[in-house]
C-alpha cells in the first residue's frame, strides 16, 4: 500500500529565512506527487505537482519541489518565507491505474509557523 511520511509535525522559521519541508513516499508504481497548502478553515490549495520530466518543479507563491527517485522524496522549498506562508502543508501521492487516476494518499501534514 502506498504511504506518505512528513516527518516534521511543526516547523518554525523566521520571516525572510529559507524553508524546506520534507516528504517521503512509498509506492510500488511510478508516482505522481503534489504539495497542497491549507489555511485555517479553508480547503486545500494546490502549490505544485510532479508527473514526469524535469525533477525540479516550480509552483505558485515562490515554492518549488524536487523529486528524487533514489531517496523516494519530494521536498518542498522556498528561498524566503513571508508571514502569509504560515499554514498547514500536505504532501500527497497518487498513481495511474487501469481505470485512470486513483485517489491521493496524503501525509499527516506539517504546520508552518513564521516568527517575525
Amino acid at each position: 500500500a502506498q504511504s506518505v511520511t512528513q516527518p516534521d509535525i511543526h516547523i518554525t522559521v523566521s520571516e525572510g529565512a529559507s524553508l524546506e519541508l520534507r516528504c517521503n513516499y512509498s509506492y510500488g508504481a511510478t508516482p505522481y506527487l503534489f504539495w497542497y497548502v491549507q489555511s485555517p478553515g479553508q480547503g486545500l490549495q494546490l502549490l505544485l505537482k510532479y508527473f514526469s520530466g524535469d525533477t525540479l518543479v516550480q509552483g505558485i507563491k515562490g515554492f518549488e519541489a524536487e523529486f528524487k527517485r533514489s531517496q523516494s522524496s519530494f521536498n518542498l522549498r522556498k528561498p524566503s518565507v513571508h508571514w502569509s506562508d504560515a499554514a498547514e502543508y500536505f504532501c500527497a501521492v497518487g498513481a495511474l491505474t487501469g481505470g485512470g487516476a486513483d485517489g491521493l494518499t496524503f501525509g499527516k501534514g506539517t504546520h508552518l509557523i513564521i516568527q517575525p
Binding site: V4, L46, F90, L96, G100, D102, G103, L104
Partner: protein, 111 residues
C-alpha cells in the same frame, strides 16, 4: 472559473442522527472525490467517482456512509447514523486531468 462548491459549511448533530453533504464540482470535471479529514491528520479518501460510476469505495464505511452522483455532476455524501468519531471536515474534490481541486469543506461536529 468557479471552484468546487460545498454545502453546508458547518453542521452540528447528535450521535445517531443522520446528515447529508452536497458537492458541486468544477464544470466539466468527470472525476469527483470525497475525503474525510480528522483534526490533526491529512485527508483520507472515502470514495471516488468517474462520471456517475464508483471507481473506488474501499475506505468508505458502508454500514453508515453512502454517496451518490446520479447525473455525473453533483454528489451527496450521507452518514446514517452518525457516531462521535465521524466528527471531521468532509472535503469534496474534482479533477479533469489527474489534478484534484478541493472545495472549502464541511465541518461536521457530532455531539
Amino acid at each position: 472559473e468557479a471552484g468546487v462548491a460545498q454545502s453546508p459549511r458547518y453542521k452540528i448533530i447528535e450521535k445517531r442522527q443522520s446528515v447529508a453533504f452536497w458537492c458541486n464540482p468544477i464544470s466539466g470535471h468527470a472525476t469527483l472525490y470525497w475525503y474525510q479529514q480528522i483534526l490533526g491528520q491529512g485527508p483520507k479518501l472515502l470514495i471516488q467517482f468517474q462520471n456517475n460510476g464508483v471507481v473506488d469505495d474501499s475506505q468508505l464505511p458502508k454500514d453508515r456512509f453512502s454517496a451518490e452522483r446520479l447525473k455525473g455532476v453533483d454528489s451527496t455524501l450521507k452518514i446514517q447514523p452518525a457516531k462521535l468519531e465521524d466528527s471531521a471536515v468532509y472535503l469534496c474534490a474534482s479533477s479533469l486531468n489527474l489534478v484534484p481541486f478541493f472545495g472549502p469543506g464541511t465541518r461536521l461536529t457530532v455531539l
